[in-house]
C-alpha cells in the first residue's frame, strides 16, 4: 500500500520548489526557458509512486515534477536552474534537460515528441535483457500530433514493449487548445490507431493516478505490452515563465484550481483522520524550508570551469 502522506509531501515539495524557482527566475538568477509544473503534481507523483524504483522514467521539458517525484534532491534541481556544477545535469542541461541516472530519471527532453522513441528504446532494453522493468514516458497533449509519437507507439505495440505512454492533457499546447490541434474527440482514440489499450485518469486525483498506474504496471510486468494513459490535468501558470496565458479566462483558471491535487488529497486525508492540520503544516514548512535551502545551495554552488568546456562532447576511451 502506498504511503499517502508521502504522496502529499512530494506534491508539496514540487509546488514549493517551483514557487521558489519562479521567484529566482523573476530575479533573473535563472536563464533560458522555464516551464512550471504547478497544478499537475498529482500526475508525476502518483505515477512515479506506482512505479518500481528501477523502472525507467522519461519526460519532456516540463520536467521538474518528475525528477522530484523520482527523488532528485531540490538542491540538485535548483542548482541545475542556476547552471551550477552541483545541478542534476551539472549545469549543462538547464530546466528543460534534467537528468538523474542514479534515480533512473532519463531526462528531460525538449523537442516535442522526440523522446517517445527513446522511451521505446528503454523498454526494448528491458525486453532484450529479459528484465521486468517498465518504462514510464510522460508527454503533453501537444505531442500527440508529432510524427515521432506515431512511430514510437506503432513500434511499441508491434514489438509488445513494456512502456506506459502517459499523456498529461492540460488542455493546451502553449496557447493552442487541444481541440485545435488534435483531430480526435478523445485523445485515447489515438491509441486505437495502434490497437493499444488505453485509460483516462483524473490527473488531479493522485490516488486515482497511483492506483490506476499500479494496475497497469502490474499487468505489464506479467505480460509485456504498451499502454496509453490520458491524465486530465491543468497547469496553473503560463506555458513558460514568459507566457501571460491570455488565451484562457480567469474563471477557467479558478475553476480548475478548485480541483487542486494537494488540497484534494489533504482534505481527503483529514476527513479520513489520516493527518491533522498540524501535521500538514509541518510537511508544508519542511517543503518550504528545503526549497529555500535549495536556493541558498544553488547560489553558493560553483559554476562549471571554463576549462571543462570540451569535456562532454565525446566520452573518452572505447568500452571493452
Amino acid at each position: 500500500p502506498v504511503d499517502e502522506l508521502d504522496l502529499l509531501y512530494r506534491m508539496l515539495l514540487i509546488r514549493r520548489f517551483e514557487e521558489r524557482a519562479s521567484q529566482s527566475y523573476q530575479q533573473q538568477k535563472i536563464g533560458g526557458f522555464c516551464h512550471l509544473y504547478i497544478g499537475q503534481e498529482a500526475v508525476a507523483v502518483g505515477a512515479v509512486a506506482a512505479s518500481r524504483d528501477d523502472d525507467y522514467i522519461i519526460t519532456a521539458y516540463r520536467d521538474h515534477g518528475h525528477a522530484i517525484a523520482r527523488g532528485t534532491s531540490l538542491n540538485a534541481c535548483m542548482a541545475e536552474l542556476y547552471g551550477k556544477t552541483t545541478g542534476c545535469s551539472r549545469g549543462l542541461g538547464g530546466s528543460m534537460h534534467y537528468f538523474d541516472r542514479a534515480n533512473h530519471m532519463y531526462g528531460g527532453h525538449a523537442i516535442v515528441g522526440g523522446h517517445l522513441p527513446l522511451a521505446t528504446g528503454l523498454a526494448f532494453a528491458s525486453k532484450y535483457r529479459g528484465e521486468d522493468r517498465c518504462t514510464l514516458c510522460f508527454f503533453g497533449d501537444g505531442a500527440v500530433n508529432q510524427g515521432a509519437f506515431h512511430e514510437a507507439l506503432n513500434l511499441a505495440a508491434l514489438w509488445k514493449l513494456p512502456v506506459v505512454f502517459v499523456c498529461e492533457n492540460n488542455l493546451f499546447g502553449m496557447g493552442t487548445h487541444v481541440e485545435r490541434a488534435a483531430s480526435v474527440k478523445e485523445l485515447t482514440n489515438r491509441a486505437k490507431g495502434y490497437d493499444m489499450p488505453s485509460m483516462i485518469f483524473n490527473g488531479m486525483d493522485v490516488r486515482q493516478v497511483h492506483d490506476g498506474l499500479r494496475t497497469v504496471l502490474d499487468a505489464i510486468r506479467r505480460r509485456p505490452h504498451p499502454y496509453f494513459v490520458e491524465a486530465r490535468t491543468y497547469r496553473y501558470r503560463g506555458h513558460s515563465m514568459s507566457d501571460p496565458a491570455t488565451y484562457r479566462t480567469k474563471e477557467e483558471l479558478e475553476k480548475n484550481k478548485e480541483e487542486d491535487p494537494i488540497a484534494r488529497l489533504k482534505s481527503e486525508l483529514l476527513s479520513e483522520g489520516k493527518i491533522d492540520e498540524a501535521k500538514f503544516q509541518e510537511m508544508d514548512r519542511e517543503a518550504r524550508r528545503l526549497s529555500t535551502e535549495a536556493v541558498r545551495f544553488a547560489e553558493e554552488s560553483p559554476e562549471p570551469a571554463l576549462e571543462s568546456l570540451h569535456d562532454n562532447t565525446f566520452v573518452s576511451g572505447a568500452n571493452s
Binding site: 536563464g31 533560458g32 526557458f33 547552471g83 551550477k84 545535469s89 549545469g91 549543462l92 542541461g93 538547464g94 528543460m96 534537460h97 527532453h109 525538449a110 523537442i111 516535442v112 515528441g113 522526440g114 501537444g142 505531442a143 500530433n145 508529432q146 510524427g147 515521432a148 499546447g173 502553449m174 496557447g175 493552442t176 485545435r180 490541434a181 488534435a182 488565451y247 559554476e303 562549471p304 571554463l306 571543462s308 568546456l309 570540451h310 562532454n312 562532447t313
Partner: protein, 327 residues
Amino acid sequence: MREISYRQALNEAMEEEMQRDANVFLLGEEVAEYNGAYKVSQGLLEKFGPLRVLDTPISEAGFAGLAIGAAMAGLRPVVEFMTFSFSLVAFDQVVNNAPNMLTMSGGQFHIPIVFRGPNGPAHQLGATHSHATEPLYANAPGLKIATPATPRDAKGLLKTAIRDDNPVLVLESELLYNTSGTVEDPELELLIPLGKGEVKRSGTDVTLICYAQTVHMAMSAAEYMATQGISVEVLDLRSIKPLDLDLIFSSVSQTHRCVIAEQDRPFCGVGAEIAYRIQRELFDSLDAPVLRVAQEEVPMPYNEKLESAVLPSEEKILQAVTQVCYL
C-alpha cells in the same frame, strides 16, 4: 524614414505582401491567435482571418509539407518555424521536397514558398534549442537563404523572398527581434534583392565578413580597431545563398586580408565555404590566411558562462583581425 523594430519590420513585410497577393498565407505554431511565439505575426489574424493565418498542431513535417503541396497548387505559403531548431523534424520536407520538385518534374512544378523564423543560438536554451541551421540548408541545391541583421533588411528581404518563385529560407534571430533601426515609410515599397551583400563600413586594411547575429559585434570590433589605426571593411552578407561573391572578392582584393564572423558551428560551416572561394579566387592577392570566428565545436551548454565561451564575440573577432594583420 522611421525607427521600427526588427520584429515590426517582419510583420510589415508579411502584411504588405498579404495585402498585395491573395495567394500569400501564413501558417505555423501559435502564429494566429497567440500572434506568434515571438509576436512577429501580431495582428495578422485579425486583418486576414483564419483561412490566411493558421495555427498548426506541433507537426513541423506535416505543415511544412502541406505548404509545399499548396505551393505546387499555386499558392504562396509563408511557413513560420517557431525556431529553426524545430525545423530539424521537418528536414526531409525542406531539403527533399521543396528544392527538388522543379528538377524532378522537369520544370513543371516550381515551389514559391518561404520558411522563416528565428535561427541560431538565443540565450541559454541548451543544446536542442540553439541550432544555427544555415550550413545544413545551404548545402542543398535549390534553396535560397536570407539572413537579415537589421529591421530594414528584415523587411526588404522577406518581401523579396515572398515574391520569389523558389523556396527561400529567411533565417531571423530571436536576439534581434527587439533591436530597432530606420526603415523607409510604408508608402515606399521596400524590396532588397536576395544575393546582394552590403558594405556596412568601408575600410582598407581588413575585410570583416558577417551576417545576422555577428553583424553588430563586427561593427563594434571595427570601431575599436579604428582607434588602433586599423581600418576594417565590414561586409554584411544579408544572403548566404546566393552568396555575393562579387562584393566579397572586390573587397578582399583591396584589403588582402579577411576574417569571417559566423554564428554557426565551424565544421562545414558558412565560413569554410567563403574561405574556400576567397583563397581560390584571390590566392595571389591574400597577405594572410582567411580566418573564421565561429562557435566552439561542442553541443551548446546551458550554463551562461560556458555558452558565451562557445559563441563568437567581439573579443574573438578582434583577436582574429589582429592576427590577420600580423600585429
